[in-house]
């Protein structure tokens, strides 16, 4: 035995409860990264045997067999065969099977056991199987499979100690016996027959299935009722994102204000103080206030996913999405893209068809992500009167916001339709997925996932956004303008903006916007922080100007036509370094991210132009 810490891989079918088992074994001691060269998430963690010896765990992507159908499944195979670059072959394998679905899950289990690694089978979700009226005998199962079988209920942390003890035993006994059996792989049919026979033998008693899931599905998947329920759920979700987040966002904003005041009061007025207050705190603060919204959106998405509803939503949407050449599988990534296109694009890995996946990646940035909210909120607040629409309780501001969301969705569907007939042409292989049973989401699993999302967002705010804001502040501060001239206009940044202004002037954009667009390449929300920083610098020591709200200031300087054009621009513009980077990673090259940036900028320019010219024609210029 090597002195190194043994690595144990968790493998199994999707929906076998693998991730819950991984979370239960490792707790929060886990690390998420990517396998080098591919874009599959590598989940690793630490745990220890009963006597305290440490062990490493990796959670492999769920698969149906060792013949991969998606990039995720290819990683599972390569790691298990020891062919994954940078990854040692695991020392032992825990095969996770759903106790209530042995017929199917044992097929992959048999394939995995045949690999010859020290193997233990975790007979997981035994409680749900019992609920369904199944009584199983782990001893018979173990005899038939030839490996130890340990019953577990991951969500209640049952059987974990036994599982690790069995793994320990399997590693030890494996060294004393040579296991060289390389029979040719059996056919699918033979594998299934064998799986079924074993499952029959291990099943002591099977009462007719209580169709609890079935009864819920009759409502949830009802052709009309189910659809209405889905739309209602989405409506509640977006309402919650905006209303629940407000107190938290206000608190964060207040907190940042307190820090700014404290810095101003405690330090002498110098270069560094300006950088911190006007650059860092104003810029990063303008972005961090959106954390509550993002977390609430993710909370909904995670809950829907963990409960099993997301697959139903995909089922309901598949018919509609099929009409533009996508599949229901794309619904989950696109919904996630409303929070942020980065996790959305990462979630496309579950789409097995390459063309389908590529199209979904290319349209994901059109979903109105949370980074657009600062821009939309600022402009709508400044230009759209807060009044009701013709005596109804519907607010005009909310309606405009809804219109912007809708423009993004309609734009995405049209783009998908065009792409599927041109650059990503190909047969839709369709939509095949397993429909999991309903289950209660485990709060700890949700909490861990939420924390990981929050961390990714904060890290982004702390790095990319902080860096661009600081650079922008420097560009806007130097060289110092002579008295009587506008600092922002005179600075390096202002001069660059004047150059860009020539290009964007035809679509109604002014110097303010040209200035905001450049740093906003890093992230859309930087457009707001950039305007805030420029505003703060321009105000200088002028107390009155400093007190003037950013929205009041632009309301006085921009025409409505310009504001509307600016909104239309942000429906399409691909201004987010992270999205471009993730697209490059997910498509393995620069071809598709460049294509995406190109077509989105073209659309943004056209949309802003049409909006501006139309508005001017109506006398709003």
């Amino acid at each position: 035995m090597t002195a190194a810490i043994p690595t144990i891989a968790l493998a199994g079918n999707p929906n076998a409860g693998k991730s819950s088992l991984f979370n239960a074994l490792t707790g929060a001691r886990q690390k998420i990264a990517n396998y080098p060269g591919v874009t599959v998430e590598r989940k690793a963690g630490h745990a220890s045997f009963a006597d305290g010896r440490p062990l490493g765990l990796i959670d492999l992507p769920g698969s149906y067999s060792l013949t991969p159908a998606s990039p995720d499944e290819a990683v599972t195979r390569d790691v298990l065969l020891g062919q994954q670059a940078g990854e040692r072959r695991p020392d032992a394998l825990v095969v996770v099977v759903d106790a209530a679905n042995l017929d199917n899950h044992l097929c992959f289990a048999l394939e995995l056991i045949a690999l010859g690694l020290p193997t233990v089978v975790a007979l997981n979700m035994l409680d749900l199987a019992t609920r369904d009226g199944l009584t199983l005998d782990p001893a018979i199962l173990s005899r038939e499979l030839g490996v130890p079988v340990v019953p577990t209920v991951a969500v209640r942390k049952r059987g974990l100690t036994d599982l690790l003890a069995a793994v320990d035993g399997a590693i030890l006994s494996h060294q004393t016996q040579a296991t060289a059996q390389s029979a040719p792989p059996p056919s699918d049919a033979a594998l299934h027959q064998r799986a079924k026979a074993i499952s029959r033998a291990a099943t002591l008693c099977e009462t007719p299935v209580r169709r609890w899931t079935g009864r819920v599905d009759n409502v949830v998947l009802h052709p009309v009722g189910g659809f209405i329920l889905l739309v209602a759920l989405m409506f509640v979700m977006f309402q919650a994102v905006f209303s629940w987040a407000t107190p938290f966002a206000d608190a964060l904003e207040g907190g940042i204000g307190v820090i700014q005041t404290w810095v101003v009061d405690s330090f002498p007025d110098n270069f560094l103080r300006g950088l911190v207050v006007e650059g860092l705190l104003a810029g990063v603060g303008a972005v961090v206030v959106f954390l509550p919204q993002i977390l609430i959106l993710f909370l909904f998405i995670l809950l829907l996913e963990a409960s099993g509803y997301m697959t139903r939503a995909a089922f309901l949407m598949d018919g509609l999405m099929g009409k533009v050449g996508l599949s229901g599988r794309g619904f989950i990534p696109l919904l996630s893209s409303f929070a942020c296109a980065v996790p959305g694009i990462m979630a496309t890995r579950a789409i097995p068809d390459e063309k389908d996946r590529l199209t979904t990646i290319l349209i994901a940035p059109l979903m109105t992500c949370s980074a657009r909210m600062p821009v939309y909120t600022l402009i709508i607040g400044a230009f759209i009167p807060a009044q009701k629409v013709g005596g109804t309780p519907i607010g005009l501001q909310g309606l405009v916001l809804f219109g912007l969301f809708l423009s993004g969705i309609i734009g995405a569907l049209l783009v998908a339709l065009v792409l599927r007939r041109s650059v990503t042409k190909g047969n839709a292989t369709g939509f095949m997925m397993e429909m999991p049973r309903y289950q209660w989401p485990r709060p700890a699993d949700i909490a861990i996932a939420l924390w990981q999302r929050a961390w990714i967002f904060l890290r982004r705010a702390g790095t990319i956004i902080a860096a661009t804001t600081v650079i922008l502040w420097l560009l806007l501060t130097f060289p110092q303008a002579p008295a009587g001239q506008s600092q922002v206009e005179y600075s390096i940044g202002g001069r660059i903006a004047s150059g860009l202004e020539v290009v964007v002037a035809p679509i109604g954009f002014n110097h303010d916007i040209a200035l905001a667009l450049i740093p906003a390449m890093a992230a859309r929300e930087v457009a707001v922080s950039a305007m805030a920083t420029a505003n703060a610098i321009d105000a200088g020591d002028n107390e009155e100007a400093m007190a003037e709200q950013l929205s009041d200031r632009i309301a006085g300087r921009w025409s409505i036509a310009t504001a509307l054009a600016f909104l239309a621009w942000f429906v399409f513009a691909p201004q987010c370094i992270s999205t471009i980077a993730i697209t490059k990673r997910e498509t393995n090259g620069w071809k598709w991210p460049l294509f995406m940036v190109g077509y989105l900028f073209a659309l943004a320019y056209a949309a802003a132009g049409i909006t501006y010219w139309t508005a001017v024609a109506f006398g709003l210029g």
């Binding site: 149906y64 067999s65 013949t67 159908a69 209530a100 679905n101 017929d103 199917n104 097929c107 369904d132 699918d188 049919a189 299934h192 299935v209 899931t213 079935g214 599905d217 998947l221 052709p223 009309v224 189910g226 659809f227 697959t311 995909a314 089922f315 309901l316 949407m317 598949d318 018919g319 509609l320 099929g322 009409k323 229901g328 097995p352 292989t429 369709g430 939509f431 095949m432 997925m433 397993e434 429909m435």
Partner: protein
Amino acid sequence: MNPRLDSAPLGVAVRISRIDWDAMSQDEGRRLREFGLMEGIEITPLHRGSLFSRDPLALAVGRMQVIIRARQAAMIEVAPTAP
């Protein structure tokens, strides 16, 4: 010609009598087999489509439920289960 799965009534168990493996891609065929859809297997169509379309189709295969498209279901011939 035998009835095909894409037009089979919902809620009635049927037996797969033949699958036209040649009409589908290798990947499709493999995924069907991984889901346990093979000749001789008993399945029950459960839900079909939504407001806008007759696609997709949800089936019960043993204790598992799977979703496939109508196009694939059209390649699967079914017969009534033996009484």
